[in-house]
């Protein structure tokens, strides 16, 4: 029978996007780091014993779930067949907004494009084209995004100043409004 703490570790690691340090788990669960480590080890062993297709591993100073190495061929197929390989125009527009308006929050990009951009932004981030560069100092402390070094390399640019100038182009009033007000927490 799994303990409440073990179940909480499973729940947290299941939704975490990066490896979670045992210290943070200890704090969230209000138990000692030693106990967190013992529970994580026990969980990892139970998945192994149950022959699960995933594993709980310690990596980069923290714990995370990942696919079991045995199943790599399936995961590779999923990567190759399950995603479309072209940059969609939605993705390109989103990337362009981040490039020209950085640092910019997801809510601002969303307001400019008039659609939810969470999925697209996540993809761009996983691809290494954009990254978190700061936090908005205002209420909500929205994450602000910018483009990466890799983005510049792929486009053959030296610095952001080498992006083609926009010239006399003036964005519509809704865009200006979105940029000015988009930092407010989502309605």
């Amino acid at each position: 029978m799994a303990s409440e703490e073990e179940r909480a570790i499973e729940a947290i690691l299941m939704v975490a996007e990066d490896p979670i340090e045992p210290g943070l788990l200890a704090q969230l669960l209000e138990v000692s780091v030693e106990r967190v480590e013992a529970m994580c080890t026990a969980l990892a062993e139970s998945y192994e014993a149950d022959d699960r297709g995933f594993a709980l591993v310690r990596v980069a100073g923290g714990y995370r779930f990942q696919s079991h190495p045995d199943l790599s061929p399936y995961v590779e197929r999923f990567v190759l067949e399950g995603q479309n390989a072209r940059m969609s125009s939605a993705a390109l527009e989103t990337l362009a907004i981040v490039a020209y308006k950085q640092p910019v929050s997801r809510a601002q990009v969303s307001a400019i494009r008039g659609v939810n951009v969470d999925g697209v932004m996540r993809t761009l981030q996983v691809r290494g084209y954009i990254e978190e560069v700061a936090r908005d100092p205002g209420p909500g402390q929205a994450v602000l995004y910018g483009t990466t070094r890799m983005f510049l390399e792929k486009l053959g640019l030296d610095t952001l100043d080498d992006l083609p100038p926009l010239g006399d182009f003036v964005p519509g009033p809704d865009v200006v409004e979105a940029l000015e007000q988009g930092l407010r927490p989502d309605a």
Binding site: E17, V79, R122, L157, D162, V175
Partner: protein, 265 residues
């Protein structure tokens, strides 16, 4: 709780209503506790009070409020005037039809309100779980195609300009909403100019040049405003007789001195 008995309590107790149906549903279902005591007069009072509170008279909202108020007021008139031998049958049927439409719309509105409650519960239950969205481990990233292949700086610029160029505004169909050409404030202004000069006039004469039914309603609301302010007296000699409006106030009442100034907008 004095709410049920005290019509003025609506002013204190009602939250901000989103629209005329919201308010009407609230008023009627609230009175449901006292089913046989439901009074259209009190509903109308609360309704007018709500109109009164609307600082900036949003045209769409105001139109809906007024259309419903007009139906309510007509219904009230029928209640006040029990003798109905000389009633125009077509008019009577039209009123019933209007009432049924209003009833149907209220029921529809209530249906979706209740559906929204259930959606809210579903969303709350779903919110208790967080999906895993971690994505690929690093070792698989090299398999993913380079999405930026073939993307030039010029294409990026074009994409940006495309993204921030204002889209053509979505057309709003207003066919179903009659345009409102006059506000209650304007109507009050006209009345405090006209009434001191004529002294006594029937409502029929006061509205004879108005074409739109809605304008008549706005006038009627304006007259009610002045009645509330004690500036006019209203008289009706008998069933279906003309409503007589008698000016009681000063010759030189200005709009600013009336509380209706909050209708500005």
């Amino acid at each position: 709780m004095a709410g049920i008995l005290d019509p003025m309590a609506y002013d204190v107790a009602t939250p901000v209503f989103e629209g005329p149906f919201d308010l009407l549903l609230h008023l009627i279902t609230r009175e449901q506790v006292d089913l046989y005591e439901i009074s259209i007069s009190r509903i109308i009072d609360a309704y007018l009070a709500e109109l009164d509170r609307m600082e900036n008279l949003d045209l769409d909202v105001a139109t809906e409020f007024l259309l419903i108020a007009s139906t309510l007021i007509e219904l009230k008139t029928r209640r006040l005037l029990p003798g109905r031998d000389d009633v125009d049958l077509d008019e009577e049927l039209a009123l019933w039809e209007e009432r049924d439409v209003l009833l149907a719309r209220l029921l529809e509105c209530k249906t979706f309100k209740d559906a929204a409650d259930v959606l809210s519960r579903l969303a709350a239950a779903a919110d208790r779980s967080v999906p895993r969205r971690t994505g690929l481990e690093e070792r698989f990233l090299s398999l993913t195609p380079d999405l930026l292949a073939g993307v030039t700086p010029a294409r990026l610029k074009d994409a940006f300009i495309r993204a921030v160029t204002p889209k053509p505004p979505a057309r709003v169909l207003l066919d179903h909403v009659a345009p409102i050409r006059i506000s209650v404030q304007d109507a009050v202004e006209e009345l405090i100019d006209e009434l001191p000069r004529v002294g006594v006039i029937t409502f029929r004469h006061l509205t004879q040049e108005l074409v739109e039914r809605l304008e008549v309603i706005v006038r009627f609301l304006a007259v009610l405003e002045l009645f509330k302010e004690g500036l006019v007296d209203l008289d009706q000699d008998g069933n279906f007789a003309d409503l007589t409006v008698t000016w009681l106030g000063d010759k030189a009442v200005t709009l600013e001195s009336l509380s209706v100034e909050e209708y500005q907008g």
